[in-house]
Every structure is written in C-alpha cells, then in structure tokens.
Homo-oligomer: 294 residues x 2
Amino acid sequence: MEVHQLRYFCAVSETGSFTRAAEKEQVAQPSLSQQIMKLEEELGVRLFDRLGRTVRLTGFGQVFLPRARAILGEMKAAKDEVAERQSSVSGPVSIGVIPTIAPYFLPLPLALFSRKYPQTCITVVEDVTARLMDRLRAGQIDLAILATPMRGHDVESFTLRTERLLAILPRAHHLAKKRKVMLKELRDEPFLLLREDHCFRDTAIEVCKRARVMPRVVFESGQFSSILAMVGAGLGISIVPEMAVEQRPDCAFVSVGDDRASRTIGVVTLKGRYLSRVQLAFLAHLQTFAQKEA
Amino acid sequence: MEVHQLRYFCAVSETGSFTRAAEKEQVAQPSLSQQIMKLEEELGVRLFDRLGRTVRLTGFGQVFLPRARAILGEMKAAKDEVAERQSSVSGPVSIGVIPTIAPYFLPLPLALFSRKYPQTCITVVEDVTARLMDRLRAGQIDLAILATPMRGHDVESFTLRTERLLAILPRAHHLAKKRKVMLKELRDEPFLLLREDHCFRDTAIEVCKRARVMPRVVFESGQFSSILAMVGAGLGISIVPEMAVEQRPDCAFVSVGDDRASRTIGVVTLKGRYLSRVQLAFLAHLQTFAQKEA
DNA sequence: TGTGATTGATAGGATTTGACTATGCTAGGT
DNA sequence: ACCTAGCATAGTCAAATCCTATCAATCACA
C-alpha cells in the first residue's frame, strides 16, 4: 500500500471518474488505473464498480475511503507539525550551566530570551562540568555553558567571553589597595577555593602553578558567595573571575597581573547534534551577550 | 513521504541503529540511510543525530515518531478492516423484490439466511420492476428479485424458478372443476388484473394476446389478495402465478393449458457490480430455493 | 439504428527510483 | 597504533511507475 495509491483512490472517489482523477493528480489516466488496480489487488477486494461510464465505490470502497483520508490527513498533519516547529522559534530548550557562571551571567539573557520568544520553554540545569558533559552526551541538555576550551573530539564550542581573574583580599590586607597584584605576592596566604569538582578550582590552581605558587587550601565551598564571606571575615584570600565580583565592605578585589590569569567561558554543543531553530536562536542570543557586562 | 520511509524511520528509532534497522527491515544499510535522508530532506529537518557510534532522535524526530507510528498503524488497521469484512460473511445486503413475489417467495429464505448468518443485516425494498431497476442502477440495492428475462445490457440475471399460471375462477364457475383450462375459453369473462406498473399484468396480457384473447378489465389492484377476494365475490376471473395460490372456499384455481403460460422469476444484478461475500452468499442461498415449493 | 465521443483497460517503451555491492571515513575499543 | 563498528558515498542494476498509443465498451445524438 503506497501513499500515491491512497491519493489516487481518494481522487477517484471524489471526482467519480478515473479520467478526472488523473487530471487532478497530474498523472496519465492509465497510470492511475494501474495503481488503483494494484491497490485493489493488495487489499483483495474491488474498491470501485466500473459501470460503463460511471464509477462508484463498492461497499469495501466506502469502508476504505474514510481510512484512506485519515491516513493522508495524518501525513499532512505530521509534516505540518514538523514544519511548524521548524519555522517558528518555539519549543523546549534545555541548557546546562556550571555554578560559577549561572548566577552571574545567566539571569539577564534568560529573561530577555523568554520575553522575546514567549513560546519557548527553557530548562536550566546547574551542575559541575563533568556531569553537564554527561548530560550533554546523553542528550538531556542541548547545550552547556562552561569554562572553555573544552577538550573532547565529540563536542564543539563557541567562546562567549574571556574575563580576567581577580584576587579577593580582606579589606584590611596590605595589598588590598593596589591596582594589581602578582600571585607570587600571595604565595604565603591561606587559600579559600571551590570544591574539587568545580572546574574553576582547576583554573585557579593552574594559574597558581604557572606562577610557581602552591596554594595552601584552608577552606572549600561550592559557591563564591561563601568564599567571599569567609575572605571578608579574614580567613584568607581567594581568586574569582570578574563576573563573581560583588561590592562588599569587607573585601577588596585586585586584578591578578600574571600572564594568562583569565577564564574563558563558552557554549558547548555535542558535535553532530542537530539544533532546532529555538536552540540555534538561543545560541545566537547568548553570543550577543558575549562581551557585555552583566 | 513514502510508507517505507516511515517504516525505516520507526525501525531506526526502535533499534537505535541504522545497521540493525536495516537488518530488521530486510534491506541493505545504505538503502535505509538513503531513505532516511530523503525523508529528512523532505521534512526539512534532521530526524536523527548521528553521534559517532550511536544514533539518537532529535527533537523533531521525537515529535515525528508517534505520528509515523500512528500512520503505519492506521494503514494496518485499514487493511485489516477490509480483510475482515472480506473473510467474514457479514455486513449489509439490500435487495429489491416486486410485490407479486415478495410475500410468497421471500419469507422463508430470508428467515433462514438471517438465522444462518446472524452478522448480516438484510434490507428489503418492495417495489415494482421499473423502480427496482432504478434503485439497482443507483446502487441503492445490491440485487433484485423479479420476473425474468430482464432485457438490458447493463444487468445480469439468474433464473430462480419457472411457475405455471393458473386461472382463478369463482368456485361456482362452470369451468371451476376442470383440471385445465384454455384462455380462449375465458375470453368473454370480465378480467381482474394488477395495476399497470406491475409486471405481472404485462405477463398476463401477453399470454392472453398469444391466445388471441383481449381481456376486458373490470378491476385493478396492487395485490393478488384483493383480486382473489373479488373473484371469490364473483366479480370476474383472473390469472395468477403458482406461488400466489391460496386455498379459499370461494375460489377455484385451474391450470392454464396454453403454451408458455408461465412466469419465470430470477435474480438480477448490475453488470460489473462487485458483490461482497455476504451478497454472493445471499445469491447462492436464493438459488437453493430455486425449485423448492414455498 | 448508426455514428462519434467519452471513458476505462491494455500494451509496450522510457524514465525514475529504490536497492545492492564496494568502499570511504570517523569513532571507539583493545 | 591497529582493528572493529557504523554511517555515508559512489556506481550499477532491476523494478516499478509513468508515459503514449490504442482498444473496447458505453452513451449521446442524429
């Protein structure tokens, strides 16, 4: 049973004639006759009575007609639905973000996107890089916002922004007033860092290592705000990316002068993953926020 | 969008692999790949993400899958329904009968057929030949039981039974006791006949004409029972077919001895008309009653 | 009643298309 | 680093659809 056979069948039913049906379906009349016969053969019943000049549905034809119409309708509906989803920027988008980006970068673009495309529904998963990558590969999220570059042949990434690192010092610290500080100057300070699974911890340690500094970690947390509060209380110092800066009376933020003391954030997608219009739109939307300040 | 494309698509969705889907669908893997690509091209979206070794539905694929399944299901259902109707002797049969046959011939076969095939639903239309033929040509009835032969190139007929004609005489008539009577002997009697549109009127007049008798019609009716009653009351005489005979104290039935003084009844169908199993079964059923007495 | 026109079926050749084999390329596993 | 698995590509082939031409039958009309 083929689609065009159903189309021809319906056309004959509607026009009451093979010839007119053939015109309607833009085929030669013998072709249409053949296909109808083939359909009848497959079904094992006659669908039409050929009565001289008139053609009329048999009982079987009458039974079959609504079903054939339904099938053709379903096909059109299926096609239309896909087209609809493709042409309109709507539908679900699920994204992943690491905790050291989420609260600082995401709120504004998220709100603006939702306002711009009310039809969309964005789901955000906040988790650490490793688990986000798992979810990405599992297809649970469409894209992930995290620190790049991301090694891995199965992903593609787009840079969003590179931001300088800043040392956080207690306001009373002797380096707190400087405009710039080298990590070497901080080598003996107690360090407060993120927990192990946070990638920014690795970034911080990496930059220290390049400065031949081995940080002495006295406190670990899952979020910058805790660290800031601790630094403010004088427990030690830390390093944060630019976007985590928040004005506090007890903390001073001093730019780290070391080479490559920066973090780059970007969007990562699975290579070979097909992105829908919404998803692409969201990606583009994120890129407009690339260099803006939050 | 072709049927096999939908089948292949569903197979890939189910197996999660082009290769396994190809095995399942009994085609070579490249053929399947091609058809999937063709489908994707027509829809304008990617249905699968080819991620290295794994294949996964895209969002569009997820939307499309249930619809594709529904379409394939509908096709199977349509085919099954036709097959079901074809294999089982069930469904509607509508027949037409002329009034001079209906009450005498039909009750028994109708009852037996309904008992034999309880799934069927027989509709009977009682009308005169001309209107039955109209209905037959209009497809409103599947077959008609009437007096044959039926001229007309667009019909086919099967003889059921040939029955002799009998003269009805008042019991007191001087010929009432005879075993046989010739029409010539009745030439001066007043005749009671059916109304003009009844074909048996034509049959009766025809047989008279052959006997060089011009009947003098004094009463017309739509049914034999009225005529019998009138004959019984002494108004005149009439002619009826065998099956219309009913024992009455006031009437005598005498066989008409003339040549070809008979009526043949048969079943007529539209030439080229496709008959379903039930309809054919009913036709065959009628033929088993061909020579039986009612 | 015969003749022309309309309609569906049939026949044979041309074109399209789906399927197959062989092969390439990339990703994963050992 | 090699090997395997899996999808894509290339080229060929066969089948199926479509076409034109024609036939047979019906119907309209003279």
